[in-house]
């Protein structure tokens, strides 16, 4: 049985029908992970624990116990989410020896749904990067062309799903870190509305932008995982419940009525010709099926990159202040308190993290605060208002259609020397985070890994807490 191609839905059916056991699935996929070690997707596999969890699911089936919606489904975690008793490093040397003493809320919810936590995946250090090259551990390769990056920062999760090593993984998305690597690795990447999923137990990068979401093979699977992890959590005051309607079995007649907007600012000259052609072909599929499609404008889009690269580093510089050598890892050879702080951070953080901490410290410092941080907070409102106007219930559209990235996956080292060129990778994904909206990246077409073609993704963006719209439209695209 080749489990590499099966979706969560197919795996669930097979386990329920006893065509195969949860243990068989987990052992076979762990074998695949071992066989693909050179891909560098995983930092650690929870071998014995995953096996024991799978056996527990099989016993529950044999005993006729009620099963959760993800019973027996192996899921990988980006290495910035806490699993009790396991190392969690956020891809950083500074947390090399840190062991979590509790489960993140998403981990708790996945377990309650019956999922099996199979391991932790590689990522850019503290989720800062668009290629997974800033990981302090090793590089992750793109399963479609191993000379290219998998995207980032959830590059390990996306590569694992893209290569068929797991049917699903969790990532975190601050400016595109779920959607961009998913697009690069031929997977579906879904960033829910800000507040839809608890961030308790996620190593914070930029707290007003971070959101956890799934990377999966299909849109239907993304809906399944989202349905299991969503919900208000007393331990995250920004999390909330909402009435999502029917996420798992969309009413296709209602989906066909959704009005699609195409923001002209996302179809610019700089887009790679192959990417532009592919994205246009996806839009054409909606057009031919008779969807209502019209051009819209999000006039402040051009400022999103600057706004993001002020607000995000500002929040980074405060969130990462706690890695000072007192409660987490400490550098050797410093005696005085102040030297412990300086040495631990100087030696423990990589260049990109240091760059962003300094940038954040600058934009928050007296004399520059109003001109940079204060200004960015105001322009952030204008960017969010653009979306609200486009989504106006009376005259607007329901869903926006856009490319996920302007380029195909790039080669290792291609953008490392120039931070700004790396930051431009997030151009089409980060405005969504500034506005807190839900968005999903979907592969334009299914292609085989290492067949000479590179994956391209397109994005559907929805109103706040209207994940049902983009998941429904995404499922329509997959089925037609």
């Amino acid at each position: 049985m080749d489990f590499k191609k099966l979706t969560i839905g197919e795996l669930r059916q097979g386990i329920d029908a006893k065509s195969f056991s949860a243990r068989e699935v987990v052992m076979a996929l762990m074998g695949e992970i071992e066989a693909n070690a050179d891909l560098g997707a995983f930092l650690e596999i929870f071998g014995k624990d995953a096996e024991a969890e799978a056996e527990a699911v099989d016993r529950a089936i044999a005993d006729g116990m009620p099963l959760g919606p993800l019973a027996g489904i192996p899921i990988a975690l980006k290495d910035n989410m806490a699993v009790s008793g396991k190392r969690v490093t956020a891809g950083s040397k500074i947390l090399e020896r840190y062991v979590a003493s509790y489960d993140a809320t998403v981990v708790k919810k996945l377990r309650e749904a019956g999922a099996i936590i199979i391991g932790r995946t590689n990522m850019d250090e503290f989720a800062m990067g668009s290629s997974t090259e800033t990981s302090a551990y090793f590089k992750t390769k793109n399963p479609f062309d191993r000379s290219r990056v998998p995207g980032g920062s959830s590059g390990g999760s996306a590569a694992a799903v893209g290569a068929g090593l797991v049917p699903a993984a969790l990532g975190s998305d601050t400016g595109g870190s779920i959607r961009q690597p998913a697009a690069y690795c031929g997977a579906v990447g879904f960033k829910p509305t800000y507040g839809a999923v608890s961030r308790f137990g996620l190593f914070a990068m930029a707290s007003s932008l971070d959101q956890i979401g799934p990377i999966t093979r299909t849109v239907a699977d993304a809906a399944r995982v989202f349905d299991a992890i969503r919900g208000a959590d007393p331990r995250d005051s920004t999390s909330t419940d909402a009435d999502y309607g029917n996420l798992l079995n969309p009413d296709m007649a209602a989906v066909k009525q959704l009005k699609i907007g195409v923001p002209k600012e996302y179809f610019i000259d700089g887009i790679d010709a192959n990417v532009a052609r592919a994205v246009e072909s996806a839009l054409d599929k909606f057009r031919r099926a008779g969807f209502s499609i019209k051009e819209v404008s999000l006039p402040h889009t051009q400022y999103a990159l600057s706004v993001y690269y002020i607000i995000m580093p500002a929040e980074v510089s405060t969130n990462l202040a706690r890695f000072d050598g007192i409660r987490y890892g400490r550098a050797e050879g410093a005696e005085r308190l102040i030297d412990i702080y300086r040495k631990t951070k100087g030696e423990g953080f990589g260049p990109e993290v240091i760059r962003r901490i300094l940038l954040g410290t600058f934009v928050l410092s007296a004399g520059y605060y109003d001109a940079f941080y204060g200004k960015a907070q105001r322009v952030r409102r204008l960017i969010a208002d653009d979306f609200h106007a486009a989504f106006d219930p009376a005259s607007g559209v329901d869903v926006l259609f856009a490319p996920t990235t302007a380029n195909p996956p790039f080669r290792f080292g291609e953008k490392s020397a120039d931070p700004l060129s790396m930051y431009l990778e997030d151009l089409f994904t980060l405005p969504v985070n500034l506005a807190g909206l839900p968005a999903i990246s979907i592969p334009v077409e299914r292609i085989a890994p290492e067949g000479g073609k590179l994956p391209v993704g397109f994005q559907l963006i929805g109103r706040h807490f209207r994940e049902a719209d983009i998941l429904g439209l995404g499922q329509w695209y997959e089925e037609n």
Binding site: S207, T238, T240, L337, G346, L358, K375, Q377, R378, R381
Partner: protein
């Protein structure tokens, strides 16, 4: 736009050691990024309220009940501890 002295001051505020040989590259990188931010100057924002977080939820509270970490207390993770307490070097010293 940013000098070496300013960079050292920022590193001091952030409590990060920066080796001298990396200073010029960092000055170059930060100057390039800050220059990009100039475009914001042209946006009129006098009448615009700042966005101060990811959500507009207010007054979110939970029950004020003590909770402990399951099993271990967390102290064992500290680089230095003494009888269940976090240990730090003297804060005030010469």
């Amino acid at each position: 736009m940013i000098s070496r002295e300013e960079l050292r001051h920022l590193a001091d505020l952030a409590r990060i050691n920066i080796p001298e040989e990396r200073e010029s590259q960092l000055v170059h990188d930060l100057a390039g990024i800050l220059k990009h931010f100039d475009e914001l100057k042209s946006v009129k924002t006098d009448a615009v309220l700042p966005v101060t977080g990811g959500t507009e939820l207010v007054g979110i509270v939970r029950d004020d009940t003590p909770s402990t970490l399951p099993g271990k207390t967390g102290v064992e993770l500290f680089p230095e501890s003494d009888e269940g307490f976090l240990k730090v070097p003297a804060v005030f010293s010469d």
